[in-house]
Each structure stands twice: as structure tokens, then as C-alpha cells.
Subunit: 373 residues, 2 copies
Amino acid sequence: MLVDGKPYRTIWLADDEPGLVRIIDQRKLPFRFEIADLRTTEDAARAIVEMYVRGAGLIGATAAAGMYLAAIESAAEEDFEASIQKRADFLCEQRPTAVNLRWAVERSLGELAAENSTESKIAAARQTAIDVADEDADFCRRIGEHGLDLIREIHEKKGGGDAVVNLLTHCNAGWLAFVDYGSATAPMYAAHDAGIPIHVWVDETRPRNQGARLTAWELGQHGVPHTVVADNVGGHLMQNGLVDLVITGTDRTTFTGDVANKIGTYLKALAAKDNGIPFCVALPSSTFDWQIRDGVREIPIEQRGGEEVTVMSGVPENGDDEIEIRISPETSPAANFAFDVTPARLVSKLITERGICEASEEGVRSLYPENFA
Amino acid sequence: MLVDGKPYRTIWLADDEPGLVRIIDQRKLPFRFEIADLRTTEDAARAIVEMYVRGAGLIGATAAAGMYLAAIESAAEEDFEASIQKRADFLCEQRPTAVNLRWAVERSLGELAAENSTESKIAAARQTAIDVADEDADFCRRIGEHGLDLIREIHEKKGGGDAVVNLLTHCNAGWLAFVDYGSATAPMYAAHDAGIPIHVWVDETRPRNQGARLTAWELGQHGVPHTVVADNVGGHLMQNGLVDLVITGTDRTTFTGDVANKIGTYLKALAAKDNGIPFCVALPSSTFDWQIRDGVREIPIEQRGGEEVTVMSGVPENGDDEIEIRISPETSPAANFAFDVTPARLVSKLITERGICEASEEGVRSLYPENFA
């Protein structure tokens, strides 16, 4: 997607310098746009654990790129196999619960194992890094195409032409969380690029403000009209006909259609239901949990530190160096549940790389029969 | 209620010095607790317009106190009547939409008109200032008594004894918005003081953070166990059995039971309904709108500046002087709807100074038949 008018991905291999991986350092967004260079396995690990990069798709792509750097380093070691395995383990340790991290590392190890020479192992690792990123981008692009149909339909119902389709999204399921396009944002970018007038209400997404910081920034950079709102506002907007479609991403969706996503998603789904507005969830199929039937009861919800609620980060007037302020009494504790689960009954549609389906076991089965063996 | 272990109201007349009114300067809470002295009509007007004081009940009490100061000043003028009228108009101009302001000023003028001597006019204005404050406090105290019954019932259902009743509230409908007790908080203070173990989830209440700043502070000062949460969290808490009762205040409630309150209230009411949790609204009867039938369609919703969303205020580490930071991209606009309307169908009960009723025309009529002539 565009940044300062120039197309970017969140991660790429430098064309002109072997062994150089570049990423957007997302820690400083939206106040500073900086590119970070990764030249060692250590660099890649740091980018993952210190959250230069975040989002399942992007963590996987960074891990695959890290394995390419690990292969180059291992070629200089006495025992290539021992070295690459050590580095693979090191990468996996950085965020042990990130499924895509381990998946990408193991995929790279498998490709390496099929090669004999050190040189061809390095080439295989490089190609795997490229493939993982390209596939992630391709899945998101396809989600965008399918979601575009929904937006086009609404646009036509509203009379087409200059009629604006109003969308609402929560958190950042944008291209910054993947390699390109994003999940929830992919249909928005596709519609905008197809010339359909859209406007996006961006939920601030307390406490970490991923909407106000990241979604607002990426939509703005790509030229998509948008407005930041407090998380409290969505119900009022829907009640007053100011939202045509809600699209969010998801951190985990059960094969029965229950959606775990950033805390507050459930409240927006309730408001959409109460006002007859479609509530859609966009996801690559890697996000499905094929084991869990009852998301509300069975998906564990992470609790994070209360200081994420009581301390806010931003820039003072005319500055771009972030500072922190406390916004509540020092003696008042805060709780910080990071996710909630929206029951399938409140979800209108799932938008996947294979198409759109109902948020139900039957719906998911219709697109992914091979997972219902 | 208690501050640093000592009972306070938000406004009082100094015992030892005629012509001195004291208020809590709420602008600096929760970071600094400061008392401001009002000695002139000008001081009272400034306290109202610069929001040293806020909340319908407290604005009314401050206006009545301002009229006492105006009477003292007018006694020194050539034409008492012209002077007091000029000062009354001046007070009313400060926040023209605040119903209680005009009401209190006119009540004071009426009492003054019944007296003949300047001295007795001053005495009448002083007594009116005391009466307005006492009546506000008394109405809130009675709301607390009625609401206490609801909390006691839940406590008993949970087995009594050490069982904790979990409440959730949105915004600040606390004693800081009135003279004492508050509306939504009155049942909480009553239950706490009666020895029923309660715990309050305090919605941060973006964008102006009245929950995180004021409700958390006043509950903490009075010793009521509480936890600050982002506005996104309530749905998850209710889904997981962590809330027994929601109580909010209201800025305006129709005689049919539709509730205008701080933006985001509607989302909590939806979640309460979805999880079978009582959602109650506490209000003195002065908050009823006896004209409007359909709150969702007819109550105008104020839109405020977007900078309230994009700029946050708080204190740096180890500081107590507030500073401001921007939390989103400079180029992203923000919208700021200040209130929303919760339809009566989502409201379980109204808690008033006369008792508890259904949120419906029939319910309200049963308590306030004189307003249905």
C-alpha cells in the first residue's frame, strides 16, 4: 500500500544487497516512518520480540526472512545443520505463542533439508522467505477481492455514483499486520482503488490505540477517507444510519464461527445486530481454529498489565518524540483484558481468501471441506 | 463523601466568614485536590463557565450560591433590584443550555422578591443557596437508599456475607457531579457504607475520561473497591459473569424511558441485555424530559471538537502538572459525538428519589403522576 505516495510492503528483501532484509519499524508509527535493516538472525529476533513487527502474517514473514539470514550465517559455521537448528530454535523462542512464527521456521527448515550444497540451502531459504511473504500478500489480496463484492453491492443499493459507503473497523487488521493489503482493510483498499467512494470510521481501540495510531495512519497514507472515533461512538453511528458495513479482523476464529478479536469487538457486533447492519470478519484461513467448538467458553483471553490502560503514549505539540502520561489516579488499579469473543450468532459473514461464507460450521465447511475430515 | 478521610460536599458556605462560598476545583482532579474560594458573582460565573464545577445538580447549587454573592454586592449598589437582575442574567449567560442554572437563579430571585429589606434579601438568598444544595444532596441520598435495595437483593442472591456484588458504571454520575452522593454512585456508597462488599468496574469513558479521572478518584477516596477498565471491556466482563448490575446516570431521560447519557452507554446496555444483567439508570426527577416521546429520534446529540479525541491530558511520571499529548496522526480527522440514547427497551429500571420504576411511560407515571396531567 502507499506511504508518501510510494508503494510499500511491511517487509522485503533488498534487491541490491544479498543478506539484507528491510522492514517498517512500526514502533514509531504514526509519528515517525522509519525503515529498519535486518542483517542477522539476531536482528530478526529483535524485530519480532520488540515488536518492530506485529500481526500473525507479518511475524511469519519476518521469521522466514530470519531463516534466510540464519542460513547465510550458518554457511560460515563449521556445522551448518547444528547452526541452522540453533538459530531456528532461537527465532521460535521470541514469541512462543505465535503460531505463524513456528510454522514459517519449520517450513524453511523443510525446504533447506531438501538441498545439498550450502549455496543451494541459502537460495532455498531466500526463496522461502519470498514465498511466505508473497503468499501472505496474495491471500490478503484475495480477501480484498471477495470483500469488494460486498461493498460494491452496498454501493449499488445506495444508488451508486457519488454515494459513499460508510464502513467501521476496530483495531488494526490492516496491511501493517500482514505483508500487504491487510485482512479487514483489504476490501476497503480494493473498493477505494476501484473508485467506489468509501469512508471508514476508525475505532481508536483502547487501550493500545491500534486504530488511532496504525489504521488511521495506513488509511490516510493510501488516501482512504476516514475519521477516528472513540470506541464508545460506534453504537450511536449505527443507530443513526452512519454505518453501512462493519469489517474487523480476528486473532482466532473457531470452525463454528465464534470470533476472538481485540477487546470491544463484541460490543460493536451487538450494535450492528441491533441495527440490522452486516458485521463481517475478514481472515486468512490460517486464523481458523479447527479444534475449538465454543469460542466464548473455550478461547483463553490474555490479561495484560493495567499500565497499558492508565498510561498513554503520544507526542507533545510540535514534537515527534513520544512521551508517556498517566491519565487516572495512581491509587486506582486497572484491568486489561486484551481480547473478547463475538459469538457466531452476531457475525453476518466470514470473508476468507477462498470466498465468503456464513459464520457457522456449515459455512466454514463449504469453503474448507478438507479440514472437516 | 470522604476525601483523605474527611467528609466533603462539592460546594458549601463557609461557616466562619459571611460572603464566602467554597468549592472543589474539579479541573485538576484526580491529580490535585484543591479548594477554590468564591467571593463575587464573577467568581461564581467563572467557576461555572470554566468548569471548576460540572454536573446539573452542582451547577444549580453554584448558581444559587452565586445569587447569594450577587445579593451582597447589590446591597452596596444604588439600585438593588437593577443590580440583582443584571447579576442574575450574567450568571444565566455562562452556560445557556444548563437547565438547572436558570432554575436556581429564578428560584433565588423569587425568594428575594418576597423580602423587603436588603438585609432580609441577603438572608433569603443565603438560605436559598443552602436549600438548593441540601435538596440536591437529599434527592441523591434517597436515590442511594432505593438503589441499595437492588444491591442488597443481589447480595443475598449471591449468598450474602463475603460475596462481592460487582457493579459497572460509565462516565461520572458521582457526587462530584452533584452536591453529595451522586446519582449512579449513590447506591454504591450506600451499599459500601452498609457493609455490603461491592466492587465497581469503572469505564474509562473516552474521550474525556470522566470515569478514569473522576469516578475512580471519588470511589477510591471513599474507600470503595474499584477497577478502571477501557470502555471496550464491559461486554467481555458481562459475558463472563463478572458484572451483577450496571448503573449509570443520565443527562436527559424521556418520560417514556429513553435515556440520553454519555456516549457509549448504549453499547453497555446492549451487552447487559445480551447477558441478562440488569441495566439501571439513576436520576433525580429534574432530569426527566416531560415533552419528548422518542429519545432516539428527538434528542439532539451534541458534537464537540475532534481534538478531545486526538489529544489526551495527564501527568508525566512523578509529576502532578498536567500536559497534553497527541495520540493519532496529525492528518487524520476525528469525530466526537458526546452522548448517545439508550432505548427504554434496554433499560431495566429507573432509580429516582421517589423510588424505582420501569423505564416506560407507565413506570414513570406511577411515580410522577402530576407530570402526566
